[in-house]
Symmetry: C2
Subunit: 199 residues, 2 copies
DNA sequence: CCTACCGATCGGTAGG
DNA sequence: CCTACCGATCGGTAGG
């Protein structure tokens, strides 16, 4: 039974994608090269790419690692809150913190990858788009629940609110990474709260 | 007198940077390679890079072309409006249109370049940061003027408003390019108007 | 998981 | 502005 080596191979694979998502958050999914990753991890190029087959498969696995980290840091803390405004409050807090707290050394991986791949085609771009769309749908559902419960005004446009929340997250990533502005997280949180009428 | 050839050389240079900023808005400033640009323009690689010397100088010249296009499409229409809320109204209209009207085939070049270079160092990153900071200062000044004139509430935070406007522009770029969402420009404009209390 | 290698492409230069 | 070329690095493979 090759159980032992299969477990070790899985662990190596996770080490690679973790490192890859860190590097890619700083430099981009495309500048992440197999050779550099091998050097960082003190492995051979063949040892790295052998786990995935192609660079695109490595990028997709890296993306899954990043999506899991987003879910863990932003969704998980809110999942146990009651649906509606209370859950939105928790999401706003966790999300605005996550954007600047060093979960990724180069800021939110998904935001960066979205801008990097939005002009291309292929499986990587499609997966980025589906992940962001799914998160938008979560936000729309929460806002709708809050409206139905009378916690938010009846004329609230859930799609518009979700758009603005996503935009504020992208804006915070921009000012935090480009200007190292320490107010980024606070401005993001305040904007999101105002957007939800929680200010 | 080499006037004729100098003028022609200048025109060739402008042809190169215009093409470069179009391609880079779709694929990024780094994926823009000298060889591909030469192929697109039916020139030799040496003929392209000879005008600039290094790829970094080509990227900087491309950046200046993109900054000029932003200024022309977003600032110029507002420059003749009276300072304050009326000028902000014009900026919001011009900006939200520019983001999706095909000025750049891949959406706002400066937004994309910001996310592409925010994890690096060097002259290109510095120029992107200074251009965005300058635009933020323009916005802060206009909001401050509007507050001083009593057109906006006295407790308005100009820095916060400028942050949110920039964020909404980034968000519109994201949904327009990644999801081809036709509502992007409208959502951006509505968000900006709400942010300024003009809704 | 390794070494050794492939063809393609990168930025850039020499010489004209 | 061109042709012809340089060393470096890319993604990927053969063979073990």
């Amino acid at each position: 039974m090759p159980r032992r080596s299969a477990i070790e191979a899985q662990r190596t694979k996770e080490t690679i994608t973790r490192r890859a998502s860190d590097v890619a958050s700083l430099e981009g999914l495309e500048r992440l090269t197999i050779g550099r990753l091998a050097g960082d991890l003190e492995m051979s190029k063949a040892g790295v790419i052998g786990h995935f087959g192609t660079k695109e498969a490595l990028q997709l696995a890296t993306l899954e690692d990043a999506i899991a980290r987003f879910t863990e840091h932003v969704w998980l803390p809110a999942a146990t809150s009651p649906a509606g405004v209370e859950r939105l409050r928790t999401i706003v807090r966790a999300w605005s913190t996550y954007l600047t707290d060093g979960t990724f050394p180069g800021g939110c991986f998904l935001t960066a990858a979205s801008f990097e791949f939005d002009g291309r085609s292929g499986a990587v771009r499609d997966r980025i788009a589906s992940a962001l769309r799914q998160w938008t749908e979560v936000l729309v559902d929460e806002v709708r629940t809050a409206v139905d419960a009378g916690e938010l005004p009846a004329d609230t446009d859930p799609e518009q609110v979700a758009f603005e929340l996503q935009a504020l997250a992208a804006g915070a990533t921009q000012t935090a990474q480009l200007h190292h502005d320490p107010a980024s997280s606070r401005r993001c949180r305040h904007g999101m709260q105002r957007c939800l009428g929680l200010a």
